[in-house]
């Protein structure tokens, strides 16, 4: 009887474990890596092919999320875009104030996350309401928080800058 009980609880544990794994999978495959639920590399990622400029009004104050990166939502004509403005320490060092309803213009590499949101890895941010400006990456996407020579400046892939269509998967 005791053996039966042990087997029953083992079976139950296995099933619960499986259900937990199932729930994780049911989350559209998010959270399976260290890149966060968006699946994007906000620390080093950048792609010059997808560079664009967006303008809009700030919806939320800057917040820290995935891997210590700071994000700000802005409302543009094409919908809500989440600006990734780099690591918290670097962002605070820039001393650029962003308040809700501020009109901003941002240039950077845009990407769509696995969560369906549109992100912009900001290279340059301009707060037209306050007149402040911050350069967060060099022209080729090398992030300031990764060092002076980061990114494409030395030809190294430190900034994750990509030309020619990105890394092939197959």
């Amino acid at each position: 009887m005791c053996k039966d009980r042990v087997i029953f609880f083992m079976l139950l544990t296995l099933c619960l474990n499986f259900l937990a794994a199932g729930s994780a999978c049911a989350g559209f495959g998010f959270g399976g890596d260290n890149l966060g639920k968006s699946g994007l590399d906000f620390s080093k990622g950048y792609d010059v092919n997808t560079v664009t400029t967006v303008s809009g009004s700030v919806l939320t104050s800057p917040r820290t999320e995935e891997n210590g990166n700071v994000f700000v939502d802005i409302k543009t004509g094409a919908g809500v875009v989440t600006l990734s403005v780099g690591k918290r320490s670097e962002w605070e060092r820039k001393e650029l104030q962003l308040r809700p309803n501020d009109q901003v213009s941002a240039k950077g590499s845009h990407a769509q996350g696995k969560d369906g949101k549109t992100y912009l890895m900001v290279q340059k941010l301009d707060n037209r309401s306050s007149g402040g400006q911050a350069v967060l990456r060099n022209e080729r996407g090398g992030p300031a928080w990764m060092g002076v020579n980061s990114g494409g400046m030395t030809g190294s892939p430190g900034g994750g800058m990509m030309r020619g269509g990105g890394r092939m998967m197959r």
Partner: protein
Amino acid sequence: MLRKAIISAGLCLSLLLLWFAAYNYRQAGPIAEENLRGLALTLSAAIDRLAVHDPSLADLAKFRPPDIAYFAMIDRHGIYRFHSNPDLIGTSSGDDDLKRGFPGAAPTEERVTLGTGERAFQFTTPLYLPSETLVLRLTLHTYRADSVIRRARLNTALLLGMLGVVWVLIAVLLRSARREELMQREMTRQESLARLGVMGAMLAHEIRNPLAGIKGFAQVIEKRPAEPRNSGFAQSIVAEACRLENLVTELLCYASSEPPAKDAFDLGEVTNHVAAMLSDEALQLGVDVSIQAAQEVRVWGNRDRIEQVLLNLGKNALQAMPEGGTLRWSVGSSGKSAVASVEDSGAGIAGHDLPRVFEPFFTTKARGTGLGLALCRKIAEEHQGKIQLTSKPDEGTKVTLTLPLDRSGTVHGSGR
């Protein structure tokens, strides 16, 4: 039988559902690719029209559907003639593959990971403009198209989860049903025991006392018969009276609900004692007796009752070997239990009789009471032990008695 059929049907249904889930999941990938291919072809056609109408390609800068990550047109020399990032127009694409060979008429497609970490769908196709042929590289976001894959994954996870829950519930229900069945069986047995108890009490009162008188008078007649031939008749009366007395005693013992007084004792010593009691009978039947007993296998129980069990088992074994054979006694321990076994090389028990050997009044002997093994099982269970019997016709029978060891019991090996 019904339970096995239900479980088999459940397994078949589960396998069918698993196959369906796997099939559905495997189909989702190609459907997503097909959606992306269709979208890419539509967008390529739109870009082609814009490029034909405006050879300067200036109008393309305003063409920014939300599904496009970026798009570019590259000439034979690998130079961007147009790029959705205007800073790259006129620069080299750095695509060595393109320099080596301009693509043919057939478009190509693949999944790529962009520098941002995003996984995208890249579609490359030649673009035949009036003045020249360019390569269109169109890279699309995949989130919307991959919704088919996500939905399939969710459905599969839900289906597997539900299957798991259903099987856990089935296991719980089966376990409950099994326990209930065992409880009902036990209740039935207890009820029959109670009935036997009432009957036993009646027998003790109504039969035992007159039987003692019959036996006594028959013994007197046996010693001083009026006629010499009456001595034989009296002997028969005494023998039958003894048999009936024995039956009543066994029945009373079986029906008794009084818990036995318990104490620690050495099971090996009891086994040796029983073997010694049966040695004369074994010698007469030509049975070789061997004992393998560990020293100091101390159990907690009623010594007399356990001795009665071993005596019953030993007698049964000898009765199964009327023309000689081998009788093996062994005593040892296994985990927290003491194990005594009696093994004979006798006639064995037919397979169809095995499930009934412990039932009261079931016997294969012409003059058996059918209470011996039933009594053995009752005594074993009274001691929180169990008794098991294995037998093969013409090979012999082995009965194993398992009892809980006394907490301070020790075991040292020895053989005789």
